[in-house]
Subunit: 289 residues, 2 copies
Amino acid sequence: MFQQVLNGAAGRISLCLDEVMAPFGDLPVVEAMRYASSGGKRLRGFLVLESARLHGVDQARAIYAAAAVEALHAYSLVHDDLPCMDDDDLRRGQPTVHVKWDEATAVLAGDALQTLAFEILASDAVSDDPKVRLALITSMAKASGAQGMVLGQALDIAAETASVPLTLAQITHLQDGKTGALICWSAEAGARMACADVTPLRNYARAMGLAFQIADDVLDVEGDAALAGKRLGKDAEAGKATFVSLLGLVGAKARAAQLVEEAIAALDPYGNAADTLRQAAQFVITRNM
Amino acid sequence: MFQQVLNGAAGRISLCLDEVMAPFGDLPVVEAMRYASSGGKRLRGFLVLESARLHGVDQARAIYAAAAVEALHAYSLVHDDLPCMDDDDLRRGQPTVHVKWDEATAVLAGDALQTLAFEILASDAVSDDPKVRLALITSMAKASGAQGMVLGQALDIAAETASVPLTLAQITHLQDGKTGALICWSAEAGARMACADVTPLRNYARAMGLAFQIADDVLDVEGDAALAGKRLGKDAEAGKATFVSLLGLVGAKARAAQLVEEAIAALDPYGNAADTLRQAAQFVITRNM
């Protein structure tokens, strides 16, 4: 049921990305951009659309903000998969960009996907109010740059060569940047587009983003690689501290379930109108991909 | 004389970049961002400041747009120097980022420098008018993304494995994207900040940007590596078509000189007020770095 809602959003976001990249021609780097930004769960884009619906923002406008965050997310995955980073050859069940093309194309395609995200947010398709577009751009830059996603990635890299495994507080801080900040941006986007208070959705997304990451660590241990569409067991192999290594499988699952309860409670101010977001919070710890 | 003006602008831009990165802490990835965005000629930032002066735009505002384009330029250099791209170990006389740190840090530092460029342009430090900030963001995204700088880079990579060397028209198209688009953005920025016509500065920058690239090809053949601060002779070594291989040294210099004349003529509408920009055009074909 929720999966159908998510799939519907995913389809609309893909069409929007096709539209914005239509004028870009068909050079390998552009084909790589299309390839990298197709597929996936589209959880971030879905959160944008759903928080927009909750605030009465036109879906025809919100779809562009959803496409922007999926372009940004796709850039981060392409660069994250590079040999010098996580060195992954499989993503969403398909060869990663540097495997299908080459490393240079992967670097450039990621670069241009990041640029595209900001270009989309700056366009009047997103909102007639220039201040709303700027607020979306500024918050996305903070969520994804040296104080957000890149910070998380850098902490992750530093952890690989550290002599002492990370503590729970350190992993939480790392994940706040690496995945949490962009999930927060997505959930807050609709409130931002309506010039409404972002606090309830921020609290929802913080708890949900952390639950999402704990579920990822659980999947890495006991998931099905064919369903997940990527190589699993990597963290244990690398001897990295994860929520599972620190809390155990049972403890990690319990913590994730507790965070989902927190996320759901944060939605109280919206009443029943937020039921789909509540289902989304449940989804992140029951998914198998 | 002009070199002093350029150096003065460079110093002010460095201070501004220091200021905007001050809250970022001192993780290696942030140190790499600072390292990569320090030094250099600052030609693009200078063009922003000078076109702003020409249009009566407050230098205290324009400095942020100048810092933004230098952050964007720095990102492109860090990624361009990567082993999978141009594989350069020296830049501005110093080890490149992936040599001084590692490839992962270079990818992330470049990524975050791009993000920073858009974050700076979105801030009210640049302009009180939200529409001006959005116009700067949209034009920078177009100049640097899949239809601008990344397109030029991708064409450059494709040329390396092509069976037939590029023609003059193809190299010109490639360089329009690779270096021309961002030089145009810089020269136009002041007009954009003043909501004035960008056409004269666009014509100036188009001719000047191409002259700049031809001069680069000339430097690659007969420059002094110590002064240039980078490895030279790479294009001939790689058998790449360049303006020099297609026009000869004498022909390339003549074409560059002709383009500088065109650039200078494009400034006629501004009268004597544009003399510093005229000197800048002369500078690009007389520089030794």
